[in-house]
């Protein structure tokens, strides 16, 4: 049925509130940030504006604050994403394949971190990992670390990784359990009947089928941690810093809107890239499902 001109106008009107809202509240600030990063608009006090690349030069200065911030937020979030991927896979296999008494309770409890505000999770882990906190003291008692070893506000961002894993793990588990549910049980049965053990079935049959969800989930978890503010703010040190923190400090504390905007632009490019990859992977999955 071909939608007539009138019909199409009606569809557009239904979506108009949504489009209008995001045009003002989301697209406008992004456009302004982009213009500001090139000196064509002034987000701060209304000074004169002219095209300049000086903010980008400042950002890309080798060995400078911003390259360090970009690198630190990238590798730190990537490590956390990797840990999450491994742990979440094990947990998802556990929840999907094993029936036991009390499973309902465990599956409800493991999702709790999803709904705890990041700020609270970050601060809870700060109290545990700070010198004198339960976990720091326990590890020192075991002799794994020294009594004054810093696990928070340290230069490796250990506290950031731990808190990020705790916060994002359930999300990945939920996603992977969903992916496992989509596998036709008869495929797994066939593999078992043909004599494959559980782990070899996981490796050769189940894992290849869940790779798209695995990658898509990891990408989403990564961008969430990469751009998050609360966790690195509470658990991060004075050097190096996450880029979210340097943006905040540049803009709010120092009024340096130019280089702040460049960092925001970098975040947005990363986000759009990941959104693109994510929808591509998801579409590939959908297409594969239709063929089967």
């Amino acid at each position: 049925m071909e939608a007539g001109k009138f019909e199409r106008l009606k569809l557009f009107l239904y979506m108009l509130p949504l489009i209008g809202f995001y045009s003002v509240m989301f697209i406008t600030p992004i456009v302004l940030i982009f213009l500001q990063s090139l000196g064509l608009y002034s987000l701060g006090h209304m000074g004169e504006t002219h095209f300049t690349l000086e903010y980008y030069k400042k950002f890309f200065e080798l060995g400078g604050t911003y390259m360090h911030a970009l690198w630190f937020s990238t590798w730190n979030s990537a490590v956390a994403a990797l840990i999450i991927a491994v742990l979440a896979y094990l947990m998802a296999l556990f929840f999907h394949f094993i029936e036991f008494k009390g499973k309902k309770i465990v599956t409800a409890i493991y999702k709790i971190p999803l709904f705890i505000p990041y700020l609270i999770s970050a601060f809870a882990w700060w109290t545990l990992l700070t010198p004198g906190g339960y976990i720091q003291r326990f590890l020192a008692w075991l002799g794994i670390i020294g009594e004054t070893t810093q696990l928070v506000n340290d230069k490796f961002g250990i506290g950031i990784i731990v808190a990020n894993v705790w916060i994002n793990l359930p999300y990945m588990v939920v996603l992977l359990v969903g992916a496992l549910k989509m596998i036709d049980p008869s495929i797994i049965e066939a593999s078992r009947t043909l004599g494959a053990g559980f782990w070899s079935t996981v490796k050769n049959v189940i894992f290849p089928l869940t790779i798209p969800s695995f990658i898509a989930g990891s990408l989403l978890v990564f961008i969430g941690m990469f751009g998050a503010f609360s966790v690195p703010f509470i658990l991060g040190g004075s050097w190096p810093k996450y880029m979210s923190i340097t943006i905040y400090e540049d803009v709010v504390d120092r009024g340096e809107w130019g280089v702040g905007s460049v960092q925001a632009v970098v975040y947005m490019i990363a986000a759009v890239l990941i959104a693109y990859l994510y929808t591509k992977i998801m579409r590939g999955m959908r297409g594969g499902g239709e063929r089967a």
Partner: protein, 267 residues
Amino acid sequence: MKRKTWIFLMSTLIIFGVVFPIIVIFFWAFSERWYGTSLLPSKWGLKWFKVLLEGGDLGKSIYLSFTIAPLVVLFSALISIPAAYVVGTKSFKGKRLVENLVLIPLIVPPIASGIGLLSMYTNWGMIGSYWGVVLVHMIGGIPYMFRSVAAAFESIDPALEEASRTLGATRLQTMLKVYVPLVSPGVLAGSIFTFAWSLNEFVLTLLVGLPNITTLPVQIFHYVGGYYIAPAPASALSVVLIIPSILIVLLMERFVKIEYTAGAGLK
């Protein structure tokens, strides 16, 4: 027997891993005195809740957080439902694009778009305004609402509408008797997610809400965001926010398939 043992171990590990950090928050919240070297607080009590209540911080934050969230749900629903209806039931060019674009606000770090909003709000004189904060919470709230409701519309068999019309029902009757019952689970799921989102939103509220709109997360930030972290009052405030969060998880488990919505790429 061996199988049972490791199932038990795994479950215990998961529960302990989740619950332990939360319990420590409760310890701090109900501790009146806690010396550095002792394993547990030496004096328990409600001191910090009283301090916060008397200072007026607690009441104000609770009022703000729990009146803003329902407004965010309401307005997100009003904006999302018509669009979700179109996307869920009609086919047109650019439909997938709309679906995907709505996800972008959840993926772009809030601090990035936030500095643009900060500047716009400053120019509009909306810094520290109640309705301004409702609006910024909707940026992340609408995608949840939209996805849940669109999925609900999508799952409705179009034949049902036809059957209802053929049998002589008016447009309004069809709406009330066919669509409303079938879509309301989606609206409920979206509402719970959006409510939770608003309750927990922090970065944008901090940027555009200060100094007046101190929702619970912003109030907590006052105690942990400076050079010195004050665990006890921050924990007391956290408890006020954690209890509804846990209730929300239980509600979700009871009424909503969380796997479904999360699988759609939301968080």
